[in-house]
Subunit: 299 residues, 2 copies
């Protein structure tokens, strides 16, 4: 078989079976969303997880039709593989699966995109069948037990094509993601990472900074404001260390911008410049009120 | 009549009528909570608001029994006055009402306490009948239309006695606040403001910093993490400028601590010190998970 398949158009290729590598919150939610067939045809889902109890939970709770601990065994039966592992392992999976499974399409759920796409681009047979994706949906909670089939409904799914895809691959992967209920938008990988540094990665770190400053004796004084502001600080430290590692430069830019603005804010408050403080707070309120990406959903 | 009433014990004084000066989210919620009588006797509530439409809304929606635009008229009929105005006007109201209404007890809902108590302490006849309070409950939303009678149920109500209260005043005000459904705790005014700088005031400003950094083109990339982290940034800028003004030093301490920690975080990330980053994120997660002041309530 010709592993590079250069003359195939994938846009008409049906996606009847998918493999999900990594059965956590996101992998499980995609599995549930497409397996029940959101108005279209149902898809057969093969789940791949290292832990026996995860595989058993996935079968018993209807996330998947079949399970395995071997990602190549899963991928070799599939039309599309979803890599839903921590971000620092995604590119290796894509490259290995591409080398072993010559027809399969691939996508992922990683919160960063540039380094993944850059790594995959070095291997043409992988790049030709991979479209990186990031569903802007999730939770501070991790694990299959929190997965749900409507996690992506009306959420933004960013895809970041590399330009190296075989004909039809972007269309096929776009249709797959639309079948989860999400709205697919395209960005370059660099642009995605720069924007997400500001909308997600920097806010996560600021949330952690606020949480870390809580003295034990202040716990009874906590209100809903503190709880909301620090909710995402409850996220898994391993996942987030990997995200920072993958998007280090953009995150540093965003944090340095924050540090500069914090310095300006401190100077305004110290000098009793209440006009500047009022303007800062009004601008923030207006930004917050303008930011309603999916107005049909409750915030 | 002896306006200082030095020999009266207020602990047995019944509270049958209250005046609420300022019918916003907090004043309206207290009115509703005590008027319906949370398991005890119902209390007559006289609402005081400058705007005719607020007074009308309060009557029509059952927040109060009677309304007026004159706080002295309201207070002169009451056993207790609740001052529920922005923090920078509370002390003046307390002092004026004390001078005109010789028997009335007074409390407030301000988010800061030290400067209010300090100002009231300069006037013995006001200090003898005032117990400053801060219910740790609220919302980024303001206005009577968002008030509700169960806002304080199982929430912490901090009272910050000055030591200048007449006998029984602290007991009477404590019982009043307990009748809203809240749990009353005592702190010194200084301690309250120091703790609230860390649990509320600094987090509010950090939330505003994060909101302010959003570029318009990133709005479609916003997820629930950004929305939660910035929810309180939608608060009213006038109220928050006043809060900063009243608790400037403690807020500056908290912000400078944050700025130092942010500098350390930036250095860890820049130097690729993933062990430090992992520790920082783990500590934050553990702090967040430990911080459940009212475990019986949903977060």
């Amino acid at each position: 078989m010709n592993t590079s398949a250069p003359h195939t158009d994938f846009s008409e290729a049906p996606i009847r079976t998918i493999a999900v590598v990594g059965l956590g919150l996101l992998g499980g939610s995609v599995a549930k969303a497409v397996r029940r067939g959101n108005g279209g045809e149902s898809i057969r889902v093969i789940g791949c997880a290292r832990r026996e109890e995860t595989r058993q939970f996935a079968i018993e709770n209807g996330f998947v039709d079949d399970v395995t601990s071997d990602h190549i065994e899963a991928a070799s039966q599939a039309d599309l593989v979803l890599i839903a592992t921590p971000v620092d392992r995604i590119a290796d999976y894509v490259i290995e699966i591409a080398s072993q499974c010559p027809r399969v399409l691939m996508t992922d759920v990683g919160s960063t995109k540039f380094r993944i796409v850059e790594a995959v681009n070095c291997v043409p047979e992988a790049a030709s069948r991979f479209v990186a994706a990031h569903p802007i949906a999730g939770s501070e909670k991790t694990g299959l037990q929190h997965a749900c089939g409507n996690l992506f409904v009306e959420k933004t799914i960013v895809i970041t094509p590399s330009g190296k895809e075989a004909p039809g691959v972007i269309d096929a992967v776009t249709r797959f993601w639309q079948s989860t209920g999400g709205r697919v938008v395209q960005l370059t990988p660099r642009r995605h990472d720069d924007l997400l540094a500001v909308t997600s990665h920097m806010p996560h770190l600021m949330s952690s900074l606020v949480a870390n400053q809580l003295p034990v004796e202040a716990i009874p004084m906590i209100g809903t404001g503190w709880l909301d502001t620090t909710r995402i600080a409850a996220g898994d430290e391993g996942l987030w260390t990997a995200i920072v590692s993958e998007n280090r430069d953009a995150i540093l830019d965003a944090l340095e911008h924050t540090a500069k603005n914090l310095g300006d804010l401190i100077r305004s408050i110290r000098s009793q410049d209440d006009d500047s403080l009022m303007t800062f707070l009004r601008d923030a309120r207006e930004k917050r009120e303008s930011a309603k990406p999916t107005p049909t959903l409750p915030q």
